[in-house]
Symmetry: C2
Subunit: 156 residues, 2 copies
């Protein structure tokens, strides 16, 4: 139990692609863009060898990207981590700001969801009753602007 340093065995780019869900192209792209923390090791022949720590970081990247963090922020974060000790406060700020954005996003999505659900309900009801007129009619009389002959308040 002396040193747990060795990250199992290093992985080739294809294997990393499989376990992160990124394409090999994206992996190389991320690297070029400086989104990775450390330089990726290479074999004598020049092939990339990813350690499990590299993969861990990539998995975080995937999560952050999924939740809408722009590559620029991801890059900034990677830079902070790469630079090492002393900037943890900034890392914290970055992550926390992102978390707030995620919260806002969840809120917004939930609102959308309820709007949609309500609308689905409206359609379902009309379908069930076999009558589906008066729902967002295609403005049959452009000149008078009279819409579908119904109250125009709740049709969207």
């Amino acid at each position: 139990m002396a040193a747990i340093e060795t990250p199992a065995e290093p992985l080739a780019i294809g294997e990393v692609a499989e376990r992160t869900g990124l394409t090999v192209h994206a992996l190389r792209f991320y690297e070029r863009e400086g989104l990775l923390v450390g330089p990726i090791q290479r074999t004598a022949g020049g092939r990339r060898r990813y350690t499990t720590l590299d993969v861990d970081w990539l998995q975080i990247c995937v999560k952050l990207r999924e939740s809408g963090m722009p590559l620029a922020d991801l890059k900034r974060f990677a830079e902070l981590v790469r630079h090492g000790r002393g900037n943890e406060a900034e890392r914290l700020r970055l992550l926390d700001a992102h978390r707030q954005r995620v919260d806002a996003q969840i809120q917004a999505l939930e609102e959308c969801r309820s709007v949609i659900t309500w609308k689905v309900g409206v359609y379902a009801e009309h379908l069930a009753r076999g009558e589906a007129d008066g729902l967002w009619a295609p403005t049959p009389e452009p000149r008078t602007q009279g819409l579908s002959g119904g109250s125009a308040s709740d049709r969207p």
Copy 2:
């Protein structure tokens, strides 16, 4: 109270931009792309006049876009509505499919959120204790791959 047909007074594009949050450019773009249900009325001079129903539809569009519906789907939906009665089942399907995507998205975001929250917690703790080493250290010894001398399991 005979007919509530008249949608108050028609709005100019700038006013619609204000109340939908879209730019005037985007509004014209949406129109060109066929994302609107009816043709927008024009003044004698050729300026667009939006009815409140147009604005309602645009607000729905905004919600659907916010929740990630691609323009292509929005267009399809607009086409269905424009075409009128008889395709309500398809509209329902479209909306419902989208709602499912939104649900999945919320799920994913919540997962991301918890990952981030946990990570924020880790940083906060380290900051509080004034010691911030061993967190995603910048792989100081590329040759041995020894990382920061800590257990490599929970540092991301």
